[in-house]
Symmetry: D2
């Protein structure tokens, strides 16, 4: 199960991890038709094909170009750059669903070509280039999760409710909620300098101050959420942040995304009965916050969560081992199944310095209007998970496997 | 070349025409990938696959259902009803591009199934049902033209500018513009009751009054339009209708749709040099109107145009004979190459009575906010053309093969 | 009561009519506070103060400027030009409610100044300038009606429902509907060349062809409209034009504008019980069209209406005699109480030539996207009314005193 | 100058402060016409009259109602409730500019009536009610600042650029920027429990951890901002947060709000030459953040700022002493002239508990999508200022007197 690199083995393992990562992306695309892979369900989500292409563009641009390798097709940089201003003009984000060409097969051919180029180039790359390969692997792992959440949104937009695949993980039984005492006082959070890889936004490791509090032993379940709905959770304005209430009215939100009124929900495995013990997913920060207020609790702060999770094994919990139609299962630890909204805004850590060069646009430029999520989900590639990881989305985002764990002051 | 039915031959020829029509639609889809056929370039245009499906739904619903044939898939009616309120709920028009399933091949299989059903049912259909088959053929011919204009918009939305096919018709040389004296006084317009088929909006044939005027012998050419642009046509507000000027500013319109700044335009055959003698196409009513004012002229009225064209052969001119990447060619008569905007609003004729039943929603409900176009275009199936034909689009529409011919009072 | 000029009396009467017109506008503003006069209830309506200022700007610009009189305040032209592109840049239409200065009193002072200037200039003006004074009078009369409809919209936007004044006209009893046979065949419509004044869009007088039809003897009443609502008029899509149905859904339209659910409506005299025999007002073209379909009838064509009304006295009927809180009363003739939507689009007459110069932007540039209304309303200044008058508004407009009369083919 | 209450004097001083506060609001309205006071320049700003009315509604609802006093006008609660869901339905925020009635004078009369009621009720109020009077005073002080920023926006929307008054404060000379060493380690922030008044969001006082850093001795000046612009600050995407860049493009932002291209800016005293040494104002968080990146610095964190300012006198600096057309002047301390954007999101403090009852909707419900500003501005009533104060606005807000001070890690 452990695909995580050992810090002592940078070099040969990099090539292996690169190959495994590239292969997993291809495997994720295997069940899709050319048309499935072309659809953009809404502007913040991308077509599956785009993820295949963009991750390839990343290696071609930031690794192969500097290694003197000519691009496969000069026109692809314009189409598949995501947001790197330093890399020139690019196709409008909300028009990614207009691209029937290159076809899914043509993108696969490009991937193969770039994979061969990387294979050839790898032995002679210097440390800077190797660091970019490492970054590219983690970047592609992120897009693997987005691949699954975006194709879920794509298939959900079709009244025929087609399934991506057959369910391979399934919810277990619930453990009773307990309140865990987390210590207060000073702690350290952020990525350890000795860690083989971390994104710039996780650094530097720094002191943080914890105030007296407790954390729930498990996230909020679908059954808990049913109780919230039954108690008027979505119709009681005083439970909500003002912005959240306006959002819920405007978007007519009355349940988590993909819930149907008949006790089912739409999943990668199609429409199935909701697992009541499994953690609720596909909720926004606004909904998480309203639920916490209703429950007489609050959301954990990033540092509280990270401190508590630091001693847990990041490889534990339900994560993505191979291409599959994953559905969140019961979660007993800190990682996997669903990401957990925190009450912390996504802002720079003390002493934060963005990565150098164009890739430095990677995280810092998104540090406004977003909230941090911690943990990992059933769609996070196993090996991509660590306590210091800072996932982030706007407070209204629901198409991720986003859930919530309660906290309270004490 | 003449595929038009003879009024004396309703019966056997109907089956032949039905087969030919259904075959042409399939042929139009032949060059497309599954993804090409799934994309909706903007809300008023539909995916190619949707046209294949909707025309099939029409026959299944209005012909086979009454013949007692069960639908191929119960879920398709919801997806592929266009706007018939009488036929129940339907998929939102602006979400037609979200349907990767059914796939293009699955839609083809449905078509084949319905075609067989029609074959079997045809011999025993009564006159009412046969009239609906006739209507279905003409309905499908309309969608053949939309198929081409919509796929042109789809491919144009891709920065790679893929071609639908190779050009098969090509612009000839221009004839000099002459002013033709059309008589004034009373005339008759509208579909002749003896005509084998006409849409309800073309009826009844009725008297119309012509005022002294002249019509141009040919439509405005690309070269003429270049002169309009060079003379500040798009930057002189007093040439424009107020609504048109606001539209042109808001949409940043500075040339016909698909024109590129380097003397080329994007066509079904890809990006090619503009043919200066060919009629300008892909202009809105607003642009046509501004051009006419600039030229010291006006747009023809529907009755003027129809009277003048009545003696011309509707089968003349460049029209769609078989699936091809058509481009407007030089036009000497009244039909083909480009539709011609008139100055007439699309309103009911004196004595207009809508078709009975759900199909009666067909034309009457669109009689506001639209202008009439006459003639036919290079994408109009040959045989679908007649002088009484009333095509209509909102004044801002540009993705049709829409051009303009000048008129003047005298 | 008759304030209409006699064609033989152009000269002295012009000064009198000018004074009377300018005085009426002032009188209309008398009940308003500075704040009342500053509010713009929605982008297509203007603040009361703006009407006072714009009509003054018209005379200052098109008459006094050419007479060599310097503008009162150089900055006002920018603020109070409506849409004359030829007169340079202007304040954005949807920002007219941002102007607390100049105050209502300052605008009154400007009016007085311009009135004195006109008084002084009038004796020495040539025929061209006198024609512009004439045009300015009629232009100001149009704005008097808009003044009332816009202040009605302004006061209606206030939950306190303040009245503009006390009701001075009140609905009488209804006459039973009769169907009047209008002749068919050729007739003449448009402004008579001998008429003392007409807008360019009413010209030239020309032949028009009538088809066999009948017109109702009176417009549709509030009681009739209650029956339409009770019969599901607003919830039956097949009664509506497609565009109208979408509009009614989007805007949540379920009754005429200003109707309240308790049998009252908001009027210039405040909220009062609806007069069931009085003609329905504040309906859109879309609603008029749906009502007519529901009633098995259609809307009159412009030429049918004009032919029928030609022999009626335009001074008859309930029109605006002096500043008052008018409400539509029962109507027996063709003029007054409510404007009547026709089924005719507002398009140029055969041989139409716009007025020369900047004032020529006056009517022609609005000839798209609008429908013609005929007659006059309770807010139309008496003397401003004639059978050839072409009022026009977009099909969704409801804030005018717009009603409907039925027609039918026969 | 010191109008701040002494904690030992709650009682008599409360009545004095109440009277002084109510009088200042009236004085602020003195220069305005009825129309000036009615205009809402954009949905997030309110008409001046609305501020007068809403602050009165607050006392009538939360103090007088519980003291058994009947409301002055039953209809006003609907009009002048801002966002208290617990107090029932209310007038739409973006329609506040539709209210010409009640007039400015009528609102003044209401104010006088409520002031008398408060006078009468005050002697017999219990501690809970007195706390609400105290809250009402601070609430009204907040609206005094909004009154000035909103009327500035209102007058700025008028091309005539009318002045609110004559300038009474004027910029001095600049001190050179120095970097101040703030200590690192643990500190205490938040309102001292012994403080006579603080909003719930400032509590509880709690430990905070400072990381090594320096703060600038003064805010960024207009001259500094000129240098930023000259160096391409608004045209270099890599300086900006992604969301900020999109905002600046969409809104065409190229300078602080109210700056004109000729070296002037629009102020409450009309359009005047920009004071280059004075702190820049009317910038968004996005602009502040981009400036800091350009300057190789960052924004201060809330706790850094508060720690540094704790020892400064909150009554120092340019603040609002009486009704005046204030303009930011040179600032040497921490308070006054301009609010300073921090890099901290507006989120609940550890242990935060909202105020009980409807007034508890006051702050907590806005804790998403907003950034904290510290200090005070030239429009903040003197006495309303303290180091623990947490002002907050969305990152795009510019109509406040919002500036920026730099910080840097060390």
């Amino acid at each position: 199960m452990a695909t995580r690199s050992d810090p002592r083995e940078l070099g040969a393992p990099l090539a292996q991890r690169l190959a495994a990562t590239r292969a997993l992306t291809l495997a994720l695309a295997q069940p899709l038709s050319d048309a499935d892979a072309a659809i953009q369900p809404f502007p913040d989500a991308s077509p599956a094909k785009w993820h295949l292409a963009h991750t390839t563009w990343f290696f071609e641009t930031f690794v192969l170009r500097d290694a003197g390798v000519a691009p496969y097709d000069d026109r692809f940089a314009y189409l598949f750059n995501s947001y790197y201003e330093g890399e020139g003009d690019r196709h409008a984000r909300d028009r990614r669903g207009m691209l029937s060409r290159p076809s899914l097969d043509e993108v696969r051919a490009w991937r193969a070509h770039v994979d061969e180029g990387l294979d050839r180039a790898l032995p002679s790359l210097g440390p800077g280039a190797l660091a970019l390969v490492e970054l590219g692997i983690h970047h592609e792992e992120q897009h693997q999760e987005l691949f699954l959440t975006d194709i879920l949104a794509t298939l959900a937009a079709n009244p025929l409710e087609p399934a991506y695949g057959e369910a391979t993980h399934y919810p277990g039984t619930a453990a009773p909620l307990e309140w865990i005492n987390n210590p207060d006082g000073l702690t350290m959070i952020g990525a350890d300098p000795a860690t083989p890889f971390a994104f710039d936004c996780e650094r530097p490791r720094h002191r943080a101050l914890l105030h007296p509090h407790q954390l729930a032993s498990c996230p909020v379940s679908n059954a808990d959420w049913d109780a919230f709905i039954a108690d008027g959770g979505y119709t009681t304005p005083t439970l909500w942040l003002s912005e959240g209430w306006d959002w819920a009215r405007r978007e007519a939100v009355t349940a988590p995304l993909y819930w149907r009124e008949d006790g089912t929900y739409f999943t990668l495995a199609g429409r199935v009965a909701r697992a009541s013990a499994a953690p609720v997913a596909h909720i926004s920060f606004y909904e998480a916050e309203a639920f916490a207020r209703w429950a007489g609790a609050r959301l954990p702060r990033e540092e509280e969560w990270e401190h508590a999770a630091a001693s847990d094994d990041p490889a534990s919990g339900q994560q993505l081992d191979h291409a599959a139609a994953v559905i969140p299962a019961t979660k007993t630890g800190w990682f996997g199944a669903v990401w957990e909204w925190t009450g912390s805004a996504y802002l720079p850590y003390p002493g934060f310095v963005p990565e150098e060069g164009t890739v430095g646009e990677y995280n810092g430029k998104f540090m406004s209007g977003q909230m941090v999520l911690k943990g990992a989900s059933c769609a996070t590639p196993r090996g991509h998970v660590r306590a210091s990881y800072r996932n982030f989305f706007p407070p209204s985002a629901r198409w991720q496997f986003s859930g919530v764990r309660l906290a309270r002051d004490c």
